[in-house]
Each structure stands twice: as C-alpha cells, then as structure tokens.
C-alpha cells in the first residue's frame, strides 16, 4: 500500500492496485462520523459500440443499457440489496453518467458489512428475463419523469443540436422504445465486458482505518476469480467540429421561455495534466466573460434578459466536450444574440486581464478548499479525474500556474462560429419560431 501526503491540505491518501487490477483509494477524514464508499466502473451511456470480452467483432447495444444495468444490479435472487443496506443503517445509491456508473453508500456504523455488501452485489450479477422485463415499467416512468422536466429537455436538446454522431447526444436512460429491446443476455454481455475489476475504482473516505480497510478489501477480492484483464475496445464515429443543428425550438408547458447557447468543443482528445489545465482554463475564461462579476452579467441582469436560473457550465470528457450558457428569459432571441456578441469580442487578441484571472484563481482555490469538507465531492470527483488520468489534488497547483495565454489558447477550442448552437423551449401557447 502506498501513501501520498498532501501537506498543505492536511490529507493523506492510501492507494493500492490489487492483483485483479482494481484501484483502491482510502482517505481517512478526522472528525467525521460517516464513511462514504463509491465503487465505480468506467462505463457509461456513451459506451454503446464495443467488442465484448472474449469476442473479436464489435456490437452495438440498445440505448440506455448502462443505466438499465445499474438498476438491475440491485436485484438478486434473494431480494433487493437496498434491504440489506437498510439493515446496516446505510444509505445506498447509484448513478449512471455519460462515462461512468457508480454504486455507493454512506454510513456511520457497520462499515465493513456495508463495504462487503457493496463489493459483492456489484460483482455478482443476477439477471433473468422476468426481472429485466419488470424493470421496464419502472425505468419507463423514470424516462417519462425526465421528459416532463423542461430544464432536462433544454440540456439534452442543446447536446443533440451539437452532435452528429457521438452517443453523448443519446439520453442516458435511453427511450421507452430502446429499453424495450433490452434482454438479460445484453446485460451479461455489457456486465462481463465493463465490470472487470481492472476497469473499476473503489474509493473509501471518512471515518476509516486505512490499513485494516485495505486488508479487508484485499481479502474480499482475493477470494473471487476474474478472467485476465484485456483492454476494452470502444468505437466512435468521427465527429465533425461544427454543430449538427444551428437552432431548434421545443414547445412545452412552461410559463417563460428558456434558452441555452451551446458551444461545442474541439480538442477533446486529452487526458492527464493537459486535460486538467485545459479544463480549468476554459472554466476560468467562461467565469471571466459570463460570471457574476462580469460586465456581461451586470448588463443582462439590469436589462432583465436573465433571472435566477441563469447558468453557464463546461463539460469535458475524452471524445466530447461543450459549454452552455443560458437562462429563462422573456426575450430568448435577444439573450442568445447578446451571448454570441459577447463571445465575438474575445476572438483573436487576448481580452482576458491578469487581475481578473488572479481573482478567479483565488475564488476557485477557496471553492476547492470548501469542497474538501464534502466527502461525497472528494470521492466522486477523484474517480472522475482518475478515469481521465488526472489527480484531483493537482487542482490547486495547476490553477496557480495558469496564465492569460493559457486561457486564450484553451478558450479558442469552443470559440468558432460554426461550433455555436441555440436551443429554446417556448411556452406552448406561443408559436414556434
């Protein structure tokens, strides 16, 4: 077991790569009474075309299958795993994103029993046609619930506008039609391919004794057999730089229009320090242009073009990336134009100023230190960073090195006019434009 110390942060991280390939990290937190454990596979909704383990030909599986699989992991021959966690007083949950599926629990008691339950339920699949079919009703209602949420439709509508081929444009849960085609056999194929320990990461944080916990995990894993790890082959079509659809409108039962400007990123084939630097640079650039201290914000707020729903964000994973800026707005077209005009000001020569950069750096350092109070934040973010060969604890040192030039260079990746798209949701009574 290795230890990595972060002196300035008062944190010590324990790490071991087990014989079966599983990465295990343990971070004890003084003063905490709970322990939070996440068990995550590098497998999400975008992994739909791949070569199944032991095969040679690639297949494409039905949309929504990673999420469906996440649901079905909880049901076993002897009942629902939630029952067991409740018995130990542990709150369990799971989520599926574009690139990850995570299983987790938090608890103040029975930590070893819950950790064992987590490891075992994720590593003992049990799927039958009957249980798979039963789940279709439940997930169907989950999909319907999201269909009624205008903010979710706005978010996904904007992504759909941006991408021609990349499966990031497919809703994580799939559609009622696509999940209808899912079988137990599909689930086993995906499970066997993506849930190999060498494709997974276990993060334990909180009131935990690191040596004892590592031994416990090592023994649990040592008792199980897995095939030899093989690299997973995933396939993605070549994605053009420009957006697929420039502008689209959806009518929904809302009281005020909603609008997002989406900026599709190029240069998404990044990992490690390059990715961390790029990601932080774009975030800071967006903060300088669109943050609450910007001229832009002051102007659109005073003009009444935005309200409290105003938000901007940047997402980056290997193979895709995008920024979004938007708000509920009585004048969605005017807001879209104002956003685009603002972006145009930053073309060519650097408009980013040093003082602003330093201010946002301080803000982000403060945010990061605050976030370290949250063991959920650390576990989830550490895993995401690690899957992209980045280290969460490098954020502050990398932030400190950033220059105005870095911002300009990174920002250029989301700046082209052909990379911009607009998605609007208009009240049903108003006509679509």
């Amino acid at each position: 077991m290795k230890t990595i110390e972060f002196k300035q942060l008062d944190e010590i991280l324990y790490y071991e790569k087990l014989d079966n390939g599983l990465d295990v990290y343990i971070l004890p937190k003084k003063g905490f009474s709970k322990t939070f454990v996440t068990f995550t596979t590098k497998y999400g909704s975008v992994d739909r075309t791949f070569v199944p383990i032991g095969d040679t030909e690639s297949i494409t599986v039905p949309d929504g299958i990673a999420h469906f699989l996440e649901h079905k992991m909880f049901e076993k021959e002897d009942g629902d795993v939630f029952q067991k966690f409740s018995e130990y007083g542990a709150s369990a949950n799971a989520f599926t994103s574009f690139t990850r599926t995570a299983y987790l629990f938090s608890s103040t008691d029975n930590i070893y029993k819950s950790t064992e339950t987590l490891l075992n339920f994720v590593q003992e699949p049990y799927f039958t046609e009957a249980t798979v079919n039963k789940e279709k009703g439940i997930i169907g209602q989950e999909i319907t619930m999201y269909d009624d949420q205008p903010d979710w439709r706005l978010y996904f509508g904007t992504i759909e506008n941006m991408y021609h081929h990349h499966p990031v444009k497919i809703d994580i849960a799939g559609t009622i039609e696509s999940i209808d085609g899912i079988t137990a056999e599909h689930l086993y194929t995906c499970y066997n391919t993506f849930y190999h320990p060498s494709n997974m990461l276990l993060f334990v944080i909180g009131a935990v004794e690191p040596e004892e916990m590592m031994t416990f995990i090592r023994e649990n894993q040592g008792k199980k057999e897995f095939p030899e790890p093989t690299p997973i082959q995933r396939f993605f079509d070549i994605e053009p730089t420009e957006v697929a659809i420039k502008e689209r409108t959806l009518n929904m039962d809302v009281q005020k229009p909603k609008i997002y400007v989406g900026l599709k990123a190029k240069d998404t084939n990044l990992s490690g320090q390059d990715m961390l630097k790029h990601e932080l640079s774009v975030q800071i650039a967006l903060e300088l242009i669109f943050g609450r201290t910007s001229d832009f914000y002051e102007r659109v707020y005073e003009e009444g073009l935005i309200d409290e729903t105003y938000a901007f964000d940047f997402t980056l994973e290997n193979g895709f990336g995008f920024a979004m800026i938007g708000s509920d707005s009585a004048e969605p077209d005017k807001l879209a134009k104002t956003i685009m005009d603002e972006l145009a000001k930053y073309e060519g020569n650097s408009q980013f100023d040093r003082a602003g950069l330093d201010r946002i750096k301080r803000k982000k350092i403060g945010f990061f230190l605050r976030a370290l109070n949250s063991i959920e934040f650390i576990a989830n973010q550490f895993t995401r960073y690690s899957f992209n060969d980045m280290n969460l604890f490098d954020v502050v040192p990398v932030l400190e090195t950033l220059t105005v030039d870095d911002l300009q260079k990174a920002f250029a990746s989301i700046q082209g006019e052909t990379q911009q798209t607009v998605f609007k949701i208009l009240p049903s009574k108003q006509d679509a434009q």
Binding site: Q83, S86, S91, S107, K134, K256, D307, G366, L369
Partner: protein, 423 residues
C-alpha cells in the same frame, strides 16, 4: 454541541469550536410570524441585501470583493417552520490555516456588518431600481413552480389541505403581496427585522471563542428586543375528503396524497411517528417503495414525508395516468396493513438504523450541525444523538400500529396530461 451565549436580549449566539472543517461557517437567523405579507417583504429584502450595499454598490463590485476573499460564500435565504418565518444569512469562508500568509477572517467579520447594517440607500430608503428589479426576480421564482410539475402538484395539494395557512404559504411569499411592496415599505420591514426579530447567530469552525465573541459584538450591534411569541400550529382538519384532478400539458401523472396526524414535532409520540413514516415510505426498504415500485412496477418513485410541524404526512408518486386508481388503492393498502399490524421486526430495525444513521451523518457538515441544533434546541431536554437513538430504539411494533391508526387520509390531488385525462 454548540455553546449558547446570550448576545443581547432576544438574541443568542451559538458557538462550536471544531477542527473538523477547512472553513469557518456563520449563520444568522431572524424569525417572526409567517404571513404572506411578511414572507413576501422579507424575501425581496434578502434579494436586495444580497444585490449590493453602501460599500459595494453593484453586484459586480460586491461579488469581486467576495471572490478576492478566496471565494467567500455569502447568501441570504428564507424558510419556514410551523408558524414561523426565517430570514437566514449564511457565510462560509476558508480557514486561514489553509491559506499561505493570508488572513481573511477579519475581513469577513467586517463584511457581516456591511451586508447587514450598511444597505444601499437612496433618499433614506432602498434604491427603487434595485427594489423593482428584485421584486420581479422573486415573482419569477414563485411563478417558476409551474414548470416543475412535482413541485406544482405538491403546492396545489398544500393549498387544498390548508388554504391560507402557514402550511400552504410559501416562504417566498405571494405574487400579490410582492406587488404591493415599495422602497419605503421594504425599508420599514428591514428596520423592524433588525430591531424586533428573534435572532440566533451561529459560528462553527476552528476559531478562538473569546476572540470571536468580542469581534462579533462589534460586527453585529444588535440591540435588546422582546420578540413576539409565535404560536404553534393549531390542530386542524380538512373538512371534506377532497379529490382534485387537474390537467397540464405533460406526460406523467403526479399523484400527491395528504394525510393528517395529531402528532407534532416535540410531542411525546414524535419519535414513534418518525418510525411510522420510515416504514410507510421514508426509505427504499419502506412499504411504498417495495410495493408500488418494486413489486408492481408502477412508479420510479413512491415515498412519504412527515411534515412534523404541521401534523401532515405527504405521499408522492409519478405514475402512468391510467394507473391512477390502482396506485391510489395500493398506497391506501400500505397504510391499512400497517394499521392492521403487518409490520415486521426487520422493517422496524431497518428504520431505526436508518434514522440513527441519518442523524449522525447530518452532523458531518457545519451546515448540518447548525440546522440540527437549531431545530432541536428549543425542546426541553438537551440534544444528543444518543438520546434520540435511544428514543427510536424504545419504539415497539404496537407503538407504530397506534401511530398508523391515527393517520387519516385528507385529500388526493392528481395532476396529469390533457390527452391522458381524456382517455
């Protein structure tokens, strides 16, 4: 947990010295009786105070200053509890220990004074342009509930159950009352809040107690006051068993059901009622989740919540509109079986374990410590996790059955799509 120090008459300071967090947290709560008028004024007020002040006259100037203080977080919010309305101001700043050669704590204390006592005025009252802008913002926030069908359905159910009562008045107030606000009336509400409200001040973090008390006395010159007593919510009953159906343009059906219970927060039976709610629909092992979702695949979510200050239990579920009757009868059945005594030892033990764990977990954040202490501090016995764990431990199956028997269905609200309703 927190040490309580009288700060002024009607104002208490609660301090917790701890090295658990990398930040220092301040929370100030102003309380008075909840009415649509008071909630409206105080919510607009929080927006106005958050927008700017005499020292930082624009949002950009104010936010730049906060960014410079290592992204110190400062926000105002409003909430309600029983018949009481609360304005709260939260400030969280990085502990100096983690910053190389910088001290932000003193600046943050100065900021508390500026944000509360040095408003951005014009002709002796709040600036009209700011007030009008923030009125619009809050109205927009209230109206946005329409876009979120779950929140809308819950809002409608509360209106049907307890019209014009604190149980159904939003902590944000109402559009009608907000429209009446003027810069002068808002300034009056502000002065009254500072002078007359009951106030609790919280500090949690790695601080020197003596030093922080002395500095807070300077930063927060609150005068003595005699706050008016806010009465507890009186027991009420919805006269008729209402069943209201409404349609929006949407796909899913939202089934929201209101039940009443005579047991309130702090009553002798309160801990028993918490166990009842846990078994009924509070957790993934609960009857609602196991039957409505897992067994019948009718829903993605089906759960209950206990609004203990109002003596209400809410059940919510998202279903296909055609399954309305089936889901409703299945939900009623879960209550009926509990009333008939069908509660297993496992369900009882699971619920006790979950409640205890939840309480312990919530103490792992400074905000959680403040909120839990704030909620329990007015009860006669001193708060401790162990004391509550013991109370839950003592609850028997018979106790839960007795609780279930007092739970009564009062109203059903069903919101669904127009096409589905026509079928």
């Amino acid at each position: 947990m927190f040490k309580t120090i009288p700060f002024a008459k009607g104002v208490n300071l609660h301090i917790r010295q701890t090295t658990q967090f990398k930040t220092v947290n301040f929370s100030i709560k102003w309380r008075r009786a909840l009415t649509a008028k008071s909630a409206s004024e105080r919510t607009v007020l929080t927006n106005v105070l958050q927008h700017s002040n005499a020292k930082y006259k624009t949002t950009a100037a104010f936010r730049s200053f906060l960014d410079d203080l290592y992204g110190t977080v400062l926000y105002f919010d409003t909430s309600k509890r029983g018949n009481e309305h609360t304005v709260l101001m939260n400030v969280e700043t990085v502990n100096d220990h983690y910053l190389a050669n910088t001290s932000v704590l003193n600046e943050v204390l100065g900021l508390l004074h500026t944000a509360i006592f040095e408003p951005n005025l014009e002709n002796g009252v709040f600036k009209e342009s700011v007030v009008e802008r923030e009125k619009k913002t809050v109205i927009q926030r209230i109206e946005s509930i329409f876009d979120d069908k779950s929140r809308f359905a819950q809002f409608r159910l509360q209106q049907i159950l307890r019209p014009n009562e604190p149980a159904s008045i939003s902590a944000n107030g109402s559009v009608e009352e907000i429209q009446k606000i003027t810069p002068a009336s808002l300034f009056e509400a502000y002065q009254s809040m500072l002078a007359n409200d009951k106030i609790d001040i919280y500090v949690a973090g790695d601080i020197n107690e003596e030093e922080i008390v002395a500095k807070l006395k300077k930063a927060l010159p609150f005068k003595d006051r005699t706050p008016e007593e806010v009465p507890a919510v009186l027991p009420q009953q919805h006269p008729d068993n209402d069943y209201v159906r409404e349609q929006h343009e949407m796909k899913q059906g939202k089934l929201h059901i209101g039940f009443s219970t005579p047991v309130r927060f702090g009553d002798a039976d309160f801990s028993k009622m918490q166990i009842f709610n846990g078994i009924f629909g509070g957790y993934p092992h609960a009857k609602l989740f196991m039957n409505v979702r897992e067994k019948e695949s009718l829903a993605y979510y089906a759960s209950s919540s206990y609004a203990s200050h109002y003596g209400l239990v809410f059940v919510v579920s998202g279903i296909e509109a055609k399954n309305e009757e089936k889901a409703l009868s299945l939900i009623k059945e879960q209550l009926a079986v509990m009333q008939a005594g069908d509660i297993t030892d496992l369900e009882l033990e699971q619920t006790k374990a979950m409640l205890t764990n939840q309480l312990k977990e919530s103490l792992d954040s400074a905000r959680g410590q403040i909120e839990i202490f704030d909620q329990y501090k007015d009860l006669p016995e001193e708060f401790s996790v162990q004391a509550w764990a013991n109370k839950w431990k003592a609850v028997t199956k018979e106790d839960v059955v007795a609780m279930a028997k007092q739970v009564q269905l009062e109203a059903v609200y069903f919101l669904c799509g127009k096409e589905q309703a026509a079928q």
